[in-house]
Amino acid sequence: MISNYKKIVSILLVTLLLASFAFTACGKNNRNDTGNDTKQNRGNESTLPNNSSEETFSYPVEGNKKLTYWVGLNGQVAQLATNLADTPFAKALEEKTGVSVKYQHPAADQAAEAFSLLVASGEYPDIVEYDLIRNYQGGPEKAIMDGFIIELNDKLKSFAPNLTRYYEENPLARKMVMTDSGKFYNFPFIRGGDPLMVYFGPIVRKDWLDDLSMAEPETMDEWYNMLTAFKEEKGASAPLSFQEWMLGNGSAFMGAYGVARDFYLGRDGKVKFGQIEPGYKEFLVEFSKWYREGLLDADLFTVNGNQVAAKITGGDTGASLGYQASGLGNLLRAMEDDPGYDLAGVKYPVLNKGETPMFSQKDIPVRGGGSAYITTDCKDVEAAMRFLDYGYTEEGHMLFNFGIEGTSYDMIDGYPTYTELIMNNPDYSPAIISKQYIRASYSGPFVQDVRYFEQYGYTFEQQRSANANWGVSDIDKYRLPPVTPSTEESQEVATIMGEINTYTGEMFAKYLLGQESIDNFDKYVKNIKNMGIDRVIEIKEAALRRYNNR
């Protein structure tokens, strides 16, 4: 022990030496001394005038405004356009708003790192669209304090009248977007209806079920019997296959035992961490049995989406977890030529017949993803706000959800109907071609319309029933609302959870593969407690109280 200490001390000394050396090499970057003040001023000055222009304002914004806009380019948009500005959608938006926008895109699949580097760089575009709640330690409040984005409270009424009106009509959305101290800071992506928030769940081979004269499974036992039958009668080599992280999407299977994978509200109203609850142990016992008996994909931790899709279409797999459009929809489309092939989205499994699932995937109406923020480097806050507020106007609502009238949709009996160009394009699937004209098929600063989903989400009848089945759950009761811990608390949470997530992820694998006996579950829970889970729960409890008081 003492020798370890000595080693560390000597290492630190060398580090110190190096650092002092590095010190001499610096010299620039003093701009922050003065930079901060001017940044703050910039934010305030534009609020004073223009208050009177509210009544008379109409699009387009005058004065040939130019803005820069950082946003990850959706992979399916990228198939036909290298920059969002090249899409008909962005061109129409520019024409309508009168603001010309230069979009900056991080390299595909590297948005998280690119965003982290963008923030650290200290030089920001006018607008940034990214999930700050999930990806900025300390959340929006910290981002404002760090001088990354600006607070919008005093400007919202004047420069974003349409978003303000939406908030007045939808107090729940308003409660979810504001921070604990009452700050508004974003132009959020809002899902405008229940079916839009449900899009992920269990999928099974319906034709196999019919062949075996089995009903759609509801309980864990029925699932077990079904998977065994798939293996023995249908020769499936991996009866149940999905990407391991997808378990976190709606806590399928473990939900039957009354636990979610992450934090949730228990039946007693207290914040709980699912992976240390007794129910989780029962889940592990059952699931590792499935693995041992070859009902679960042996490659569970390494398979990627394409491999899973290949297994489902190739008859290796008869049950999976997947998304309504990119999973169920794409699979059905791929197998359209095979009339015998059929899939169904079934309810989340429960323990006893007749129970309602506690958990399922169901999004809240307002998430961080798709939200746009105005940074402290933005020189023309009014133009930026006017530009972003357009998404919440009636005209903008139609553009974001349905695109250009006459091209991507027609008004038929007062119902905006997508044209053949979108729904039956000879060259591209609706998923790809729609993203050139609308943003409803992914996300952005606007209110998503249910009518988009009625046409786009249900290309196949199976998707409609899947959506209904997946929506059956008590998740609204047991979900932890989007709470925001304070900066110091978030840092503490991040440090503790960094360790815990590594540990639980690893132990889940070990329990499942049988490398570790589940009898040691108590020790496992104790280790997690030692890592500080109780402190995290305490922080979440406090944040929950603040949220309820908003």
Partner: protein, 302 residues
Amino acid sequence: MNLKLVKKDFKLNKALYIMVLPVIAYFIIFKYGPMYGALIAFKNFSPGLGIMESPWIGFDHFMKFFENVYFWRVLKNTLLLSIYSILWGFPAPIILALLLNDVKNKKFKKSVQTITYLPHFISLVVIIGLLKSFAETNGLINDFLVLFNVERKPLLMQPEYFRTMYIASNIWQQIGWSSIIYLATLSNIDNNLYEAAYIDGANKWKQTIHVTLPGISSTIIILLILRIGRLLSIGYEKIILMYNPAIYETSDVISTYVYRMGLLNFNWSYSTAVGLFNSVLNFTLLIIANKLSRKYSETSLW
């Protein structure tokens, strides 16, 4: 006095001084310049305040890392993976070069060289993609192992196989490319030496031991020292592409840990501290390796 000397020297070798300028500029701008960023290891970096204005917090981040439950594990994994990489990976190209050197058939030699270079030019992402599907339960490697009555297993989910797969794929990818420098050195060995050895009755093996190896020993040692200097800086890209929670036990190294903590969790200062710790270890090892080499052979970096 000294200044005069320099002036005189400059006048004499003007061209040389000018030629070295870009190199010096490169090091200052790209290597020494960014070093001041390492300061944030001792601060609580906040992007709004910038590097200079962020508050000092001393060694807190270092202590946090040393006290971390995973400290010893990532350190051990980093060391073991590096040492095994050198143990198996370093001699491989030397052996290939020695073998190729004795091949008399030009055509055969050229085709072997081309085939072994090729993987070097394939993107890492593609290589790992291949590796992943080979290592599946129903993949190529398992198909092969089954012939020897080995049970099918998802190989990339077994902690005990990770290092083997990592190092073997490294060797496969780099062996041809790394052997080039040895082949070049080998071609410089005077043929008279071989003839003399032959006349003295040395067979092929003895010739290799007493003529070929000494002929390239200085190259080997220099490369080995350089390699040791990079001992702990394992590229995290490859591991991140390969690993999953089931094999963290052997695959989580310092750089992947830094990646998860720093870039994904926005703990810039903390991950810089860990990265700096890694560099200091590297630096120390380099000095030790150089010292040892100077003691036991005539070759060393300085």
